[in-house]
């Protein structure tokens, strides 16, 4: 019965983490589910904070059923798992997670670790992006679901993401004036991606329906946009861009929601020993796993933190990772769901690859980003600082070296926001392919923790 005593720890309580916990609990294990959030759900399926009269059915639209099912399943699971909300994992060594909860240090030992840490927005800087009133696209949705708050009164949505139109619709429903939805990718990019997008017709149809709804509501929609600047002094007052026909436009607004797709939160996976490979389709360094999410001895990755796939893929990959854990512990179930889950996951991820093609990361715009624009908002390092440091440095071109010299990526967010832009700017300046300039390495603490915690550790 030794394997039944195995301690399985899941980090992240979004759709991947919850589905993994459900599979393990069904086999009689009692996994520990560690959640940095105050309530389970992750980002996309985030629940409103207590007392908020937010109608999630309306807000979630076609996804309301999945949202409700996931939370109902989680509620039914609660007494069969060890759920630990408000717990930040900041380090790992010798099969122990170092965590901080309510200001106190704790450690959690594990035999198997499922990392389901999700993703955040990928950001391309532009002049003015540091002004108060510019927020991540995912954040604009998060504060709506969590707090019932809009990030402004007249909101522009800018970037390259299918979530631009979804977020714009949600904002409009709740009373914001959506002054523009500006997509930097073109109609041609979308046509080119159609064969892959057809892998999941339902989701493709949903995306088209969002755009149609915005059109009916006469929300100004632009594609093939070249962003020029976000204007303002003490806060955002306008968004300036060139539209797809080359006309310059200036649209007054008091907030901009900015996002170019998602980038996985891979820092914990990295510290746990995952290897990384460059994925040219997403232009991201992604952890290497087998088809069930195995990334090393006792290490499993699931959800958007493993490979961007969206909520449905997160559920499927969470289930697969848990089944892989059970399989590796010698606990095989009679009915093997894995082949069906693998097929489903492959199809969903193929769709995401299509999205990455339809909504392009703006490589060329980053290469020519003006010298005075801040790339790192924590340490205020500009594109010019990066290029000058590279010109002065005789060593090999490597983003970690650029980081060490300029402090770009060394601040509070530890490169989460500036990392992808830094890689593009460094690669373009060196005249190298982006994968040749390396990958920003993560280190503990994975997020800032009170200094007292680290001292406690050493004592």
């Amino acid at each position: 019965m030794a394997e039944l005593m195995a301690e399985v720890v899941i980090v992240g309580a979004g759709p991947a983490g919850i589905r993994a916990a459900g599979i393990l609990a069904a086999q009689g294990l009692r996994p520990i589910l560690v959640d940095e959030g105050r309530q389970a759900g992750g980002q996309g399926y985030r629940r409103p904070s207590p007392g908020l009269a937010l109608d999630m059915d309306t807000l979630m639209g076609t996804e309301a059923g999945k949202y409700k099912a996931l939370h109902a399943d989680f509620a039914a699971l609660l007494n069969r798992i060890d759920y630990r909300p408000r717990t930040l994992v900041w380090g790992i060594e010798d099969r122990r997670l170092h965590c901080v909860r309510d200001g106190r240090q704790t450690t959690i030992a594990f035999d198997a670790l499922i990392v389901a840490t999700g993703a955040m927005d990928r950001i391309a800087p532009l002049p003015g992006w540091i002004l108060p009133g510019v927020f991540t696209l995912g954040g604009a949705q998060a504060v709506l679901k969590d707090q019932g708050c809009l990030v402004g009164r007249r909101v522009a949505f800018l970037g390259a993401s299918p979530l631009l139109s979804l977020a714009a619709l949600q904002y409009r429903k709740l009373g914001a004036e959506v002054v523009a939805v500006c997509d930097t990718s073109s109609f041609r990019d979308k046509i080119a991606a159609l064969p892959q997008l057809a892998a999941v017709p339902r989701t493709l149809a949903r995306g088209i329906a969002y755009l149609a709804a915005l059109k009916r509501a006469r929300v100004p929609l632009f594609d093939g946009v070249t962003p020029l600047a976000i204007e303002g002094e003490a806060g955002v007052t306008a968004l300036r861009f060139r539209d797809g026909r080359g006309h310059e436009r200036r649209i007054a607004c008091d907030a901009v929601a900015l996002g170019y797709g998602l980038k996985p939160e891979t820092q914990l996976a990295e510290l746990a020993g995952a290897r990384f490979a460059f994925d040219a389709r997403f232009r991201l360094w992604l952890p290497v796993t087998d088809e069930d999410g195995r990334a090393g001895e006792g290490l499993y990755l699931a959800g958007d933190g493993a490979a961007i796939g969206g909520a449905d893929a997160a559920e499927a990959s969470g289930a697969l990772a848990a089944l892989a854990v059970l399989h590796d512990l010698g606990l095989r179930s009679e009915h093997d769901e894995r082949p069906a889950l693998r097929r489903r996951l492959a199809r969903l991820r193929r769709f995401q690859q299509g999205l990455a093609r339809a909504f392009r990361w703006p490589v060329a715009a980053l290469a020519r980003l003006s010298d005075e624009v801040a790339v790192c908002r924590c340490e205020h390092v500009t594109a010019g600082d990066i290029r000058r440091a590279m010109d002065a440095d005789l060593g090999p071109v490597d983003v970690n070296r650029v980081k060490a010299i300029t402090r770009c990526g060394m601040g509070r967010c530890q490169g989460r926001v500036c990392g992808p832009a830094l890689q593009e700017i460094a690669a373009a300046h060196a005249g190298l392919p982006v994968e040749a300039v390396g990958r920003l390495r993560g280190q503990a603490p994975l997020k800032p923790v009170p200094l007292g915690i680290l001292e406690e550790e050493e004592a």
């Binding site: 207590p50 200001g103 504060v143 003490a234 967010c413 926001v417 200094l451």
Partner: protein, 116 residues
């Protein structure tokens, strides 16, 4: 060191709009010594930004900031308790009697540690 009271910002309207009402008890707290009201369940960031256009002044570039990622990743929204405890405003719920300062307590830097 004006304690985060940046003139124009204190006089302006809030940046966030509370689009959905909340059924919860009212709580009083202070921002840089000024009395403020919120509701239990509000995040510190929402509680502050529904009444102010900015959160803090950046320590290096001097520009004003109002948070960015709104999901606990970017750390742009740090504020402090008067006792010197650092708080990530977007993920910290407001509580009755909180005394929030939007600039790091000077003493903290003098000692070079998070708990002065």
């Amino acid at each position: 060191m004006a304690g985060g009271d940046n003139g124009a910002s204190a006089a302006g309207e809030g940046r966030f709009v509370q689009a959905v009402p909340r059924e919860a008890e009212r709580v009083r707290f202070t921002i840089d010594g000024k009395s403020a009201e919120a509701q239990a369940g509000d995040s510190l960031l929402a509680a502050i930004l529904v009444q102010r256009p900015v959160l803090r002044r950046h320590e290096f570039d001097g520009g004003e900031r109002a948070g960015f990622c709104l999901m606990g990743a970017c750390q742009d929204c740090w504020v402090w308790s008067e006792a010197g405890e650092r708080l990530r405003a977007c993920t910290t719920p407001v509580a009755a009697g909180m005394a929030i300062v939007t600039e790091p307590p000077a003493e903290r830097f003098a000692h070079g540690r998070a708990h002065g």
